[in-house]
C-alpha cells in the first residue's frame, strides 16, 4: 500500500526536456501515474468476477466441501429453471422502473428548485443533500420503523388498522418511498449539472417570443439537457437494479419483495452455496452489463466515456 504514495507525490512535476524526448517521457509518466489505480480496479473487479465464473461452473457448497467438482453449466440451468429467479427478476424490474420514474420526475422538480429558487438557495441545497449523504441502512430503518404498525407514525396518519408491512402492496409502497427519498437528491444533482448548461438567453428569447413556462421547459430545457438526463437515468437505473440495503433491512425479501441481489446474498452467505450463488452473481453482472449496453448504444454516445475527453 505504501508504494502507491510514491507516484502520487512525484505526479505533478513533469520535467520539460527536448521535444521528442518529452512525448516519450510524458507517456512513461502517464503510465506510471495511471497504473496503480488501474491495477487496483482491474484486480479487485476482474479477478473476482472471473473467479465467480469459475465457481459457477462447479458444485461448490461450503457445507459439503468434499463434494466439489466441475459440473459445467448445470448451476445456470438450475437457476434459470427456478421460478424464484424469474420472480426476483420481476420484483427487481418493478422496483427499478417505478422508483426511477418517480425519482426522475421529483428529481427534475428538485433540480429546478435548486437551480432557480430566489429563496434560501443555500439552505435548500444543503438540506436536499441530506438524504443522499445519509447511511442507506439508516434511511431504511427510519422508513421501516415509520411504516411499521408497531412503532410508526405513518399507519396512524393514514388511519390504517392493519400493518402495511404485512402484505406485498404495502411493503412495495414503503420500499419504493424509501428508495425515492434516498435517491432523488442524487438524480437532482446529476440533472442540475445539465440545467446549468442551458443558456439563460435562450430561455429569455423564447419568453419574449411568447412561449409559456411549460413550452420553454419541454422545447428548450429538456432537449439541451438530454446528455445529463441519460447519464442520470443510466446511473440510477443500474443502481436501483442492484437494490439490496433497503430490502434487507425491511424484511430480507419476505412479502414477495426479494430482489436479485438479495437472492444472490442469501444463496451465497446463508445457504453457503458458492456454485449456485456465483451463477446468480454472473447472471446479475450480465443483466447489468446488458442494461448499460442498451442505454449507451440505444440512446446515443452521450453517456459514453469518450465524453470525458471531448468536453
Amino acid at each position: 500500500m505504501t508504494a502507491v504514495a510514491e507516484p502520487a507525490a512525484a505526479a505533478p512535476k513533469p520535467r520539460r526536456r527536448r521535444l521528442t524526448e518529452r512525448a516519450r517521457e510524458e507517456r512513461r509518466l502517464a503510465a506510471m501515474l495511471v497504473a496503480p489505480a488501474a491495477i487496483v480496479m482491474i484486480a479487485v473487479t476482474a479477478y473476482p468476477i472471473i473467479d465467480a465464473v469459475v465457481l459457477s461452473l462447479q458444485r461448490a457448497d461450503l457445507r459439503f466441501p468434499s463434494a466439489n467438482k466441475f459440473i459445467g453449466l448445470s448451476n445456470y440451468g438450475h437457476v434459470l429453471s427456478a421460478p424464484v429467479w424469474w420472480q426476483d427478476v420481476f420484483h427487481t424490474v418493478i422496483i427499478t422502473v417505478i422508483s426511477v420514474s418517480i425519482e426522475f420526475v421529483l428529481g427534475m422538480a428538485l433540480a429546478l428548485v435548486m437551480h432557480r429558487t430566489l429563496v434560501a438557495r443555500g439552505l435548500v441545497r444543503s438540506i436536499a443533500l441530506i438524504p443522499y449523504a445519509i447511511v442507506a441502512v439508516v434511511a431504511a430503518y427510519s422508513w421501516e420503523l415509520a411504516w411499521s404498525l408497531n412503532s410508526g407514525w405513518i399507519p396512524k396518519l393514514l388511519g390504517l388498522t392493519g400493518d402495511p408491512l404485512s402484505h406485498t402492496f404495502g411493503t412495495y409502497v414503503a420500499i419504493i418511498v424509501t428508495e425515492v427519498w434516498k435517491n432523488t437528491p442524487f438524480m437532482a444533482l446529476l440533472l442540475l449539472a445539465g440545467l446549468a448548461l442551458v443558456p439563460d438567453e435562450l430561455l429569455e428569447a423564447a419568453k419574449v417570443d411568447g412561449a409559456s413556462a411549460w413550452q420553454r421547459f419541454i422545447r428548450i430545457t429538456v432537449p439541451l439537457m438530454k446528455p445529463a438526463i441519460l447519464v442520470a437515468l443510466l446511473f440510477r437505473t443500474l443502481d436501483a437494479f442492484r437494490i439490496f440495503d433497503t430490502i434487507y433491512i425491511f424484511n430480507q425479501g419476505a412479502q414477495g419483495t426479494e430482489s436479485i441481489s438479495i437472492l444472490n446474498y442469501s444463496t451465497l452467505l446463508n445457504r453457503l452455496n458458492l456454485g449456485l450463488g456465483s451463477a446468480v452473481s454472473v447472471l446479475l453482472f450480465l443483466l447489468v452489463a446488458l442494461i448499460a449496453f442498451v442505454f449507451i448504444k440505444g440512446f446515443g454516445a452521450a453517456a459514453a466515456p469518450g465524453g470525458a475527453t471531448t468536453r
Binding site: P36, V119, S142, S151
Partner: protein
Amino acid sequence: MSVGEATRTGAARATPRARARTGLVTEQTKRTIGWSGAVLLVLVFSLVPVVWIVMLSLKTPATATDGAFIPHQWTLSNYSDIFKTGIFTSALRNSIGIALISTVLAVLLASSAAYAIARLDFPGKNVILAVVLGVALFPQISLVGPLYNLWRQIGLYDTWPGLIIPYMTFALPLSIFVLSAFFREIPWELEQAAQVDGATPLQAFRKVIVPLAMPGIVTTAILVFIICWNDFVFAISLTSTTRAETVPAAISTFPGVSQFTVPYGDIAAAAVVVTVPVVLLVLLFQRRIVSGLTAGAVKG
C-alpha cells in the same frame, strides 16, 4: 483553509441573485411566495425521516411503540445504552478507521490517475476511462461471493483491509471523474511562471499547484468518505465480529432484549450517531459536494 474558503464564497453568493425587473411589488411577492412554498416542500420531504429517527431515539422503551411522532416521555438513555455496549463502540471505531484509510488511499490513487488523464497525452486514455466507467457501473453484490471465498482463504475475512480494499476500489471511479474535472480547470501555466520567477520545481508545486488542487481533493475526499461510511453490502458480507464490523452492519444485528422484541431505541440512537458526521459534512461542504458531483456528472 478549505472551511474558510467555503464560508467566504458561500457568503459572497448569498446576496440576492436575481432581482425581478418588473418593478411590480405584487409580482415579486407572488414569486417569493411560490418559491417559499416549493422550498418548504423540499425541506419537509428531506427532513421528516431524519427528524423521525431522532424522535424515536429519544423515546423511552415503554413509549417506543406508541406510534407518536413526538415522544411523550423524553430520554437520553438509548444513547448511554449503546455506548455502554462493545458492539457499537467498536463498530464506530471500525467505521471511522476503515472509512478514513479508504478515503486517503482512494484519493491518492485517483489524484495521480486524474492528473495523467487531465494533463498528459498518452495512448489508451479512452481504455482507462472505459475501465473507470465499467467499475462505476459494476454490481458490487456480484463480488461478494468470490471475495468472501478469497478473503477466507488468505486471511482477510473480518479484517480492516478486507473492507478497505473493496471500498477503495469502488470509490476510485467517482474520485477519478471528479478530480480530473477539477484538474482540467487548474491554470497549470502558473507552475512554470513561478519557476521563471526563481522558485524551485518543488516550491512551485507546493506553493502554487497544491493550493489550487486542494479544493478538488477536499471535495473528492468528502464524497469518498460518504461512500465508504455508507456501505452495507460488503460490511455485512465480509465481516462477522467486532474486529471489523462497521456501524451499518452492527445496527442490523443489534440484539433485542428477547428474540421477539426489536431494539427500537438502540437502533434509532445508533442511526442518529452514524448520521451526525454526514449531516455535518453536508452542511459544511454543501457547495463543494454539489460542484463535485455536478462536475463529475458533466465531464464523466
